[in-house]
Subunit: 250 residues, 2 copies
Amino acid sequence: MPHDPFSPAHQFNHCSLSTNKSMGRPALHMDCLTKTMGVLDALVMRKRVFTKGSDLIHEDQQGQNAYLLQSGWSCSYALLRNGTRQIINFHVPGDLIGIRRLLIPDVDGNLCAVTRIEVGEIDIESLLAALRSNNCLAMAILWLAFRDEAIVSQHLVDVGRRRPVNRAAHFFLELGSRLSIAHPDMKTAYECPLTQSLIADALGLTAVHFNRVLRHLRELNAMTFHDGWVELLDFDKLEHLADFDASYLQ
Amino acid sequence: MPHDPFSPAHQFNHCSLSTNKSMGRPALHMDCLTKTMGVLDALVMRKRVFTKGSDLIHEDQQGQNAYLLQSGWSCSYALLRNGTRQIINFHVPGDLIGIRRLLIPDVDGNLCAVTRIEVGEIDIESLLAALRSNNCLAMAILWLAFRDEAIVSQHLVDVGRRRPVNRAAHFFLELGSRLSIAHPDMKTAYECPLTQSLIADALGLTAVHFNRVLRHLRELNAMTFHDGWVELLDFDKLEHLADFDASYLQ
DNA sequence: CGCCGATTTGAAATTTATCAAAGTTTGTGG
DNA sequence: CCACAAACTTTGATAAATTTCAAATCGGCG
């Protein structure tokens, strides 16, 4: 095993927000984003810790906060009356979560801590006020919103039109890409604290079937996932399987 | 048939942007949105017409425009190497489309005219400039982005965790809700210029299977869809099937 | 040690896709 | 206005994929 599975991967950082490759439409957002970081940090009222499995935001409750995820992973999900769950997206350290309630109350579904997490709590009214006075911040948040939408759209494509094996390949490639923005070494092997059951609920599969899919990927020598650790053994094969193009992530 | 299928349903209007029910967080966005309309209209450089089936935006091409959909329907979609297509969302008159390329080049996938459409073309650089100087406009666009994300998230839930019958029910209820924002009479019966094949590609089904699903819904006396016309015969039954809650649409 | 959650495997049942073909509608050119 | 072609809808039969149900294993943890 090329990496130590016990290394502290969930340390504090701001990867998604602070680091970005140069873009077609250059400097503009980089400026916004770097400036933004300070603004957002200033808006953090206090640090909070949520235990594994606890809800940050629940549909019913009228939460008034957004969160800057500092360590650990969380996910947003929907619970259906038929007893199933669809996970919309997983969030990794650096992600800003719960911002949709900024403008649309009640519409961020559920947010749940997948591991123990540390977050910076941001009062939504202060954030609103900051947005109104700081145009650069507004652009940065807009950029985040577009990016989130692009990610969710890809998940829809995944679930709607890719076969389970290709879908799983796409999922792990996307995660690797997202993590590697802040930690380039995480592109082909990374710690992943998710259970098979959680991922299955993100991919629209049963846990049993997803387990078989993983075996298939292992037998193809494409990748492995065990003990909370993902290894993308054959990146090219995976990219081909997944029909993956990371441009939507930047 | 209670409605004339030949009535001009695709007339010019701005439903999605101009008309909105009151929200939990009141006046704020209404202000923004109504003010915004004028600003957006002012940004429209010229009116363009696209023929049915033509692409407004194609992945490869570096388009520099967003569009205000004035009449007709369009859709955003992804084409996969395996020959399938996933439709991400359909757009109805009043929708602002192609805005994601505002900040993320290359990431609006494909946009295609489902019917003959008339659009107001908005130069993306002018829109950017307007956003920078007009904070209210920025907030309105942010609101639109959040709403779009909520809609796509629901589609993901649909495709990932609802059975085809419930999925179809949800689809038609959502469309009805979206249309009824501007045209209250369209909530339970509306013109719908989509083919079964298009809807199947939005729902992650084959056209053949979706056709059987439609038959099932018809036999349930829940709804019918033929000749480009949708009738939601038993709204309660549909809502129950779909586990539908329109709050994400407002 | 025993329990609990997560993973793994097998077998059967169900759902959904695929293939094929017949109707039907729609649009176009003569 | 008709004839024809193309696209869309509908149905049946069959094949394939996926879920469901059941049970065994594994590992961590009190």
